[in-house]
Amino acid sequence: MAERWFAVRRDLSPRRQTLLTVGAFVLPLLVWCVISYVPFVWHPLITVTNPGGSSFLAKDMMIDRGMFAAENAKVVAEGKPAAEGYRSNPVFLPPPHAVGRALYTAFLTPPVRKGEPWLHESLWHSLTIIFWGFTAAAIIGVPIGVLCGTFDFFAKLTEPFVDFIRYMPAPAFGALMVAVCGINDGPKIAIIFIGTFFQLVLVVANTTRQTDRALLEAAQTLGAKGRHLVLHVVLPGILPNLYNDLRILLGWAWTYLIVAELIGASSGISYFINQQGKYRNYDNVFAGIIMIGMIGLITDQVLAILGRVLFPWQGKPPGKLGKIILACVGLFRRKKVAV
């Protein structure tokens, strides 16, 4: 029987899945290419190559097609030579090759002003901000969330207040955080912390509440009590879901990063994007945005594979990359035993 592309709640074959995954990236790129390289698609502007007899037009000027035609008509009527130009897209939509080149050259181009960081330094700086903000939120938030999910006492004591703060947008704390933590990295880390911590507590509490009651009861009939129930049943039981929660919240952290980096002394990748926007280097702006996307996607995928390796009891196959990681871990373990 031929495989169907549209079957309700059925998985496609691995080949088709891969095909569609590749397509998910190729299709938008294709649309972008068509808009950029096929001259009669969109291209609402004219880039002037030769102003001819017009005193209004100048070389390399970008002008609306209608205005260009009107100006040319006027110039020709006056008996002067017509202006020349080619159709082009607005400056904010650079073609793919320009962005591709920017992705490569952005790292090699020295900063415009002396003392400004190179792109790789900006990126690294952003990563450290995310790391500290998110790690602090996780280290404090996970235990509180687990306690809230396990003991109603903690839930009723903390959750209403956490819920209240959760609705305040983290960037609103910007000015306050600058006053409290100075103008350097302090307020940025604080914004990431505020943005993720309160969500994290609630999400983790909810995940903890999903612990299978039957497992808790089984553990009790086997003699587990109090602290042991939390440590040996609740925690291991929620670990895979907790891990996924953290993965999702890490994505949130990136969202807050962009705001956080513009607070106090601007820095990091968002400063780079902002600066390049001011210089109208939109290929660099796109390069910066794509870089954030790629870092996000790669970390998420690596964490997903790592999750399958860490929690083999869920019965999800680790995949090729996962097997490689497992093999490495295996080698490491054997060495340890030999020593």
């Binding site: 497992l215 003699g223 587990a224 291991p236 039981g237 869920q314 019965g315």
Partner: protein
Amino acid sequence: MTDVPNESISSRLAKLKSQPVVLGIDNLGKTYPRPDGSTTTALAKVSFSVHRREFMTVIGPSGCGKSSLIRILAGLEDATSGQMLLDGKPDSGPCPDRGMVFQGYTLFPWLTVLKNVMFGLKMGGMGFDQARSEALQWIDLVGLTKFADVYPHQLSGGMKQRVAIARALANKPRILLMDEPFGALDAQTRAQMQAYLLQIWQNVNLTVLFITHDLDEAIYLADRIAVLGAPTPDIPHGHLQEIIDVPLARPRTPEQFTSEPFLATKRRIEGLIHKRVVPTMVEPLPMIKLTQVGDEVV
């Protein structure tokens, strides 16, 4: 079997009843509050005792409170009246002395078979090596030695329940409580599990209280059967109707399913359970004339 003289069966039962009482159930009752402030009594005035080495089953229609009963005995719920005595001493709360096997597969999915069986031992404070070697013996007893290092998701339903039995037994409980443990299994696996359970019970010094709603299972496994009744107009709560001796020799064999004592016992229990369900008590279903279907059939 029919060729076994009846005296040997009755003398065996008499011997059993002379054994010390492991679990005493004394006037046990459970009342639940309702949202509107009134109360529902699931179970009231239930008293019986389980003797050492006995295999007792509890059977009853839905709503008779058999689940409440075993949850109270396991310590997962508190009785609202009466008490439970373990070896003559009042007892309550969950405790490894009253091991429990649940209907759902309650193995810890993050632990291998071996670690699952070791769980109770380690909770009891036993060292890793000793717990491991003891757990392996119990896994051996349920015939799953080859699967010791496998995670539960790789096991079939029957195997999971065998691990659950091994896990409960590893704590050397005074009594093993089983709450419809084979209810989720298909008929064939179920029959297999019954045979396994009887073997284990034979090999280990074990007292069992087994809840089921399957008559055949109740009779085939048990020395005695406690028949619970659902609420009726006269008795508005779940209650103990009768305790029946099973007149079948051990070891049990599948042929006994068709033997006269088996069928007689089954008829008797059926009479107890169904006596109050008269057809008039069931609401009549609306009659709908399915013209199209009728036409086709005629």
